[in-house]
């Protein structure tokens, strides 16, 4: 533990980068644990707001970490979390990509990949559960979350329309 939030962000997100199985979103529960539970840098509701803003913006999902950093320590915080979340795993990828041919077809490699798949699914379900709990403060909000999920699962409506629809319902005071 250190006193400076920037150093703490660098350490926490740098470590997270190297254990982020399944990519950025699967480790949302860990991000929430870090910034809400452990350090108390924001409320769960703010965390859900920032996730929603990241979803409403174009680009890689992982940029939610930039917004978390922003919320904690402004522009410097955003830069630190973004660099910390991307550089360690990028260096690893850079190194491994050169020797990938050597173990691409190895049994242990396939077993690890296949074995991590259900772990990732469990983490994604955890992320969905925690974000829903944090975002929805009323019964109507839960209904909107459920309806949005149902529409995505059954139609090809573009997600941005659903985000916009949610925003309008919010503005009208429905949720």
């Amino acid at each position: 533990m250190t006193d400076s939030p920037l150093a703490q962000l660098a350490v926490d997100f740098g470590l997270l980068s190297l254990i982020a199985v399944g990519g950025g979103i699967a480790v949302l529960p860990e991000m929430q644990r870090i910034v809400v539970d452990t350090h108390g840098w924001m409320t769960a509701a703010t965390f859900a707001d920032l996730f929603a803003l990241a979803q409403a913006a174009p680009g890689p999902n992982v940029l939610v970490v930039s917004l978390l950093g922003w919320q904690v320590a402004g522009l410097a915080g955003a830069a630190v979390t973004t660099v910390a979340m991307t550089v360690p795993s990028s260096l690893l990828t850079f190194g491994i990509a050169r020797v990938w041919e050597r173990f691409r077809d190895a049994r242990w490699r396939k077993a690890i990949q296949r074995g991590l798949a259900p772990v990732t699914i469990g983490l994604m379900l955890g992320a969905a559960y925690l974000i829903t709990r944090a975002a929805d403060e009323s019964a109507a909000a839960y209904v909107l979350t459920g309806l949005t999920a149902a529409v995505v699962l059954t139609t090809n409506v573009h997600p941005l329309w659903l985000i916009a629809f949610g925003g309008v319902l919010g503005l009208l005071g429905v949720v």
């Binding site: 979803q55 990028s90 990828t93 259900p118």
Partner: protein, 182 residues
């Protein structure tokens, strides 16, 4: 690995190509990465893309960033990797920071607050749908269901540190599939 269909891209071209990926996708950019890399610029053939994706999903960290590193370094070494990642992240980073600044300034204005509440509920729904889709296609064995339940319970309910959950669940899960791979 076969030769790519086009001459190897320069760092500048890598930056431009990944810049395009960065600004196109909402809620995940991997489909756009495939379109740019395979169909538009033909830097990779479909099999190479699948192989790169397999590597990048195997390794920890944001998958699309790993794709940028792998593709950039394959053509132009460290400079290529740097150019590809910078291209991918530059615009989206500026956009989310601008959104963050607006949130800080106007987030407590009642009308904005209400709008974000609605957006958050919808965004949670998108995530629920993604997770359910993955569960539907990926949880086809009882052992996978148990492993996923353990990962869910450990992180979302018990709120254990991820590293502790992985240390227990990941080896069990790999052992469970060991006999099914060769």
């Amino acid at each position: 690995m076969t030769e790519p269909a086009a001459p190897p891209p320069t760092p500048r071209e890598l930056f431009a190509g990944f810049f395009g990926i960065g600004v196109s996708g909402f809620g995940g950019v991997l489909p756009w990465a495939r379109r740019m890399l395979v169909e538009e610029r033909r830097w990779l053939d479909p099999d190479e893309f699948t192989d790169v994706l397999s590597l990048c999903q195997f390794l920890p960290g944001p998958n699309i960033v790993n794709v940028a590193v792998t593709v950039g370094s394959r053509f132009r070494g460290a400079r290529g990797a740097l150019a590809a990642v910078a291209g991918l992240m530059a615009a989206p980073f500026a956009i989310v920071v601008a959104l963050g600044a607006l949130y800080t300034t106007y987030g407590s204005v009642p009308a904005i607050e209400a709008t974000i509440r609605g957006v958050s509920a919808a965004a949670a729904g998108l995530l629920v749908a993604t997770a359910l889709k993955m569960a539907r296609s990926g949880l086809t064995r009882w052992s996978a269901v148990i492993i996923a339940a353990a990962a869910f319970g450990g992180t979302a309910l018990a709120r254990f540190p991820l590293v502790a959950v992985l240390a227990v669940v990941a080896p069990l899960s790999v052992a469970a599939v060991w006999r099914s791979v060769r």
